[in-house]
């Protein structure tokens, strides 16, 4: 850089402080600043690039990998849980179907039994009814025949009382028919 040559020339003017003009253009200070800056930059670059920055990027990468791994784990677990949930739902549906079938079977069996029993009872009742009707019929027939006999006797008595002579049994029968 050409500035150092000028710095050598201007170094005689160094003491004039408040003379106006930029302090930055006092070229006698340039050489030292440039050399030291290069030195500082080289040391800083070396320390940062070899020692410090790899640790920072390492931490960032490690964190990224950890987060990605955790997310993958979570996703895998979620998939597993979904499969299990689906299986459980299928099991529940199957159980429900089975239960419904069992209930329907029991109901059918019960109603069949009830119908059978009812039919049996009805048959017995019908038999009893028929027997009762028959006995009533018999009693009525007996009573009716009894009535005829009573009527013949009564008619015979009435005729005997009125006419003084008894009517024959055949006459009475034909008169009452």
């Amino acid at each position: 850089m050409a500035t150092e040559h000028q710095g050598a020339v201007e170094s005689t003017e160094a003491p004039q402080h408040e003379s106006g003009g930029l302090p930055q253009l006092q070229f006698e200070h340039w050489g030292g600043q440039i050399v030291w800056l290069l030195l500082i930059f080289a040391v800083l670059y070396t320390v940062l690039s070899k020692a410090l920055l790899p640790r920072v990027s390492g931490a960032i990468d490690e964190r990224g990998a950890k987060i990605a791994g955790d997310i993958a784990d979570a996703r895998r677990l979620k998939d597993e849980a979904e499969v299990q949930a689906r299986a459980a739902a299928a099991e529940v549906a199957e159980a429900r179907a089975k239960a419904q079938k069992t209930a329907a079977d029991a109901k059918a069996k019960a109603s069949a039994e009830a119908a059978e029993r009812q039919a049996k009872e009805e048959a017995i009742l019908a038999e009893k009814l028929a027997a009762a009707e028959a006995s009533i019929q018999a009693a009525r027939d007996a009573a009716m025949s009894q009535v005829r006999v009573v009527a013949e006797e009564t008619a015979g008595a009435i005729v005997e009382k009125l006419t003084g002579k008894a009517a024959s049994a055949a006459e009475l029968k034909s008169a009452l028919a």
Partner: protein
């Protein structure tokens, strides 16, 4: 401004430790004494190393310091990988060293200015420093350019897909724009740090002067004070932004020579 306080005083170089002057043939005498500018840069480098020694603990769940360190690292990492692309990782330490050194130099002037000694000296307001940084960037760009492309490096000055008569115009323009890159880099940083600091100093001086005058002027003083507060906030932003801009442009210039084929 006839004030007892010179706004340029903060940029004066003051010797702290006297070291021998070395005579380099062809360059002249170089005074290696440690002055306040060099001490500020040494402090910045020390602070960066201490900061990353503490922040780089490498824990999976980071603390505050580590988070801040990783934030700055991630910022530069994002720059190199988004601008230079896949090859960017190789240039990360260089860009990061530039960025962190400039950032710490800028911030020291803002944070430790009250001490009034080298701790609060803004080394990045020294043209010698910014120009050296600019030259380092451009020499690195040239070095990488030749190492990667050999003599094809000169294609940088001749954009492809241009009708050949235009090249007579374009090549000199490209060449000059390449040559002034270190100067623009240096002047941008230098000018921002210088200008902001001078304005801050002038406004702050203004407050003191107005306070010393009749109470009727105090309202104006309050106005000046509030602008100092606002400017201080702005200067902190500029301190960060200029370091960032320097890093971005370094990446852009490196990208030009790393991906010369697609240029």
């Amino acid at each position: 401004m006839a004030t007892p306080i010179d706004p340029m005083h903060q940029f004066m170089i003051q010797k702290i430790v006297t070291l021998p002057t070395v005579n380099v043939p062809g360059l002249g005498a170089i005074d290696l004494s440690i002055n306040n500018s060099i001490a500020a840069m040494l402090l910045a480098a020390t602070l960066i190393i201490v900061f990353y020694a503490l922040a780089g603990k490498g824990e999976v769940v980071p603390g505050r310091l580590q988070t801040t360190g990783e934030l700055l690292y991630g910022l530069v990492d994002g720059l190199t990988s988004s601008i230079i692309g896949h090859d960017g990782k190789k240039y990360l330490p260089f860009v990061f060293t530039l960025f962190s050194l400039i950032l710490f130099c800028n911030l020291q002037g803002m944070l430790f200015g009250w001490t009034g000694n080298f701790l609060g000296f803004t080394a990045s307001s020294q043209l010698a420093v910014t120009l050296t940084l600019g030259m380092m960037v451009i020499l690195t760009v040239i070095g990488v350019g030749f190492a990667k492309n050999g003599l094809k490096f000169f294609k940088l000055f001749a954009p492809s897909g241009v009708p050949w008569p235009l090249l007579f115009l374009l090549v000199p323009i490209e060449f000059i724009s390449f040559l002034i890159r270190p100067i623009t880099l240096a002047l941008r940083l230098f000018g921002n740090m210088l200008g902001g600091h001078v304005v801050l100093k002038i406004f702050a001086t203004f407050v003191a002067i107005l306070l010393a005058m009749a109470p009727a002027y105090w309202a104006v003083g309050a106005l000046a004070l509030s602008s100092v507060v606002a400017l201080t906030a702005l200067e902190f932003m500029v301190a960060f932004l200029q370091a960032f801009v320097f890093a971005v442009l370094t990446c852009v210039y490196l990208n030009d020579v790393v991906h010369l084929d697609s240029h």
